[in-house]
Symmetry: C3
């Protein structure tokens, strides 16, 4: 039986990627008590790595926003896997960490990480409103443009 | 009625900035159960962005310490807003994340983030003693010198 | 009386460093309720700072993996100190943050931070499996190659 958030995803026409396996010896999420820690997600879509590039050099702000949105979709996909498919158990996304792979004089990190933040509010409403940081990484795994992680309080 | 921490701030002659609105579609803090997540704060003071610069290039360690202190003041201001004005509800600042916008061969990040850490201990005493990381960001939003976030356990 | 994890460490021939004092005005761990926040650990071994270097420049991936392992050993040493010597109280390492000091076109961060992740699983088994991020820092304190922090849920 699809839940309210599943219905909201369908209404928005949002398709989730497969919950990707981690690239190394760790797990994509860890849930203890009612706190769900989601590992840093990169713009991975069903087996393919999208959005490789350094922002401000060979990569635009608009493309990086899209990369952040794909990271956000992967976070939702991992949360769904962690919660046995029931996204209605998401009480609140409390913290988002956003890393942008960019040149050293770049300054529009908030606009880029909005690609993930906007998605969370679109899908979860007020429960998607989170504290966050958005910073420039010197580099990111496999040269991806954006990496985003999250802490979610669940019921 | 002013609380003990308000009295301590007055005694120290410390003025808090207005709790700034976020620069993007997220919230400055998220409080669930007794854990308060404060968004990454930049050196913003009542509408003005202070402390723009890259440490080790055009920006000194001393100025960056001051930037970190202003980030810390904003964290306290956001905590006060989150706790309906009652800073006495701060049980413990448990984690601080410090990002320094600096050149790639810089190494004095701990001294800079002390600008925030020292403030927390000055104001909250032992309740202000926290675990933290202090790292170099390749770049930071709007070119600020420092960004600091925090996790606070509250009563 | 040595616990099960102490026995496991002995069986693996793993020696822990002394739990190092912090390099600045903060504490190496903060424990509230059942969540233990460990400060960012650098490759410090009983008074000596190992593994100084920028990966991809003067420092190899293999050496950086070893640096990450030493950071992980320091995390375990700090956890032991926080838990009055009883590592059996570690219920789950839920989150690891890994920062690699590397050149801007580097991409093998996951392989490096595995130096810490593999250690945690080796020592704690399933309780050592964690969500994590692995990103490139523009620089790190005192020029170390890797910095790792952790959040641990304890009993």
């Amino acid at each position: 039986m699809a839940g309210k958030i599943d219905a909201r995803l369908a209404e928005l026409g949002i398709e989730l990627p497969d919950a990707a396996a981690p690239a190394a010896n760790y797990v994509p999420y860890a849930l203890e008590d009612n706190t769900l820690y989601i590992a840093g997600q990169v713009p991975f879509w069903n087996g393919e790595l999208l959005h490789i590039g350094k922002v401000g050099d060979d990569y635009s702000v608009e493309d990086a926003q899209q990369a952040a949105r794909v990271c956000g979709l992967n976070i939702i996909a991992q949360a769904k896997a962690a919660l046995d498919g029931d996204l209605d158990r998401v009480r609140r996304i409390v913290k988002v960490g956003g890393f942008v792979n960019c040149v050293t004089d770049f300054g529009q990190h908030p606009a880029i990480i909005n690609g993930a933040s906007d998605l969370f509010v679109e899908v979860f409403g007020d429960a998607g409103r989170h504290a966050r940081f958005a910073v420039g990484a010197g580099s990111l795994p496999m040269g991806v443009a954006v990496e985003v992680d999250a802490i979610i309080v669940v019921d």
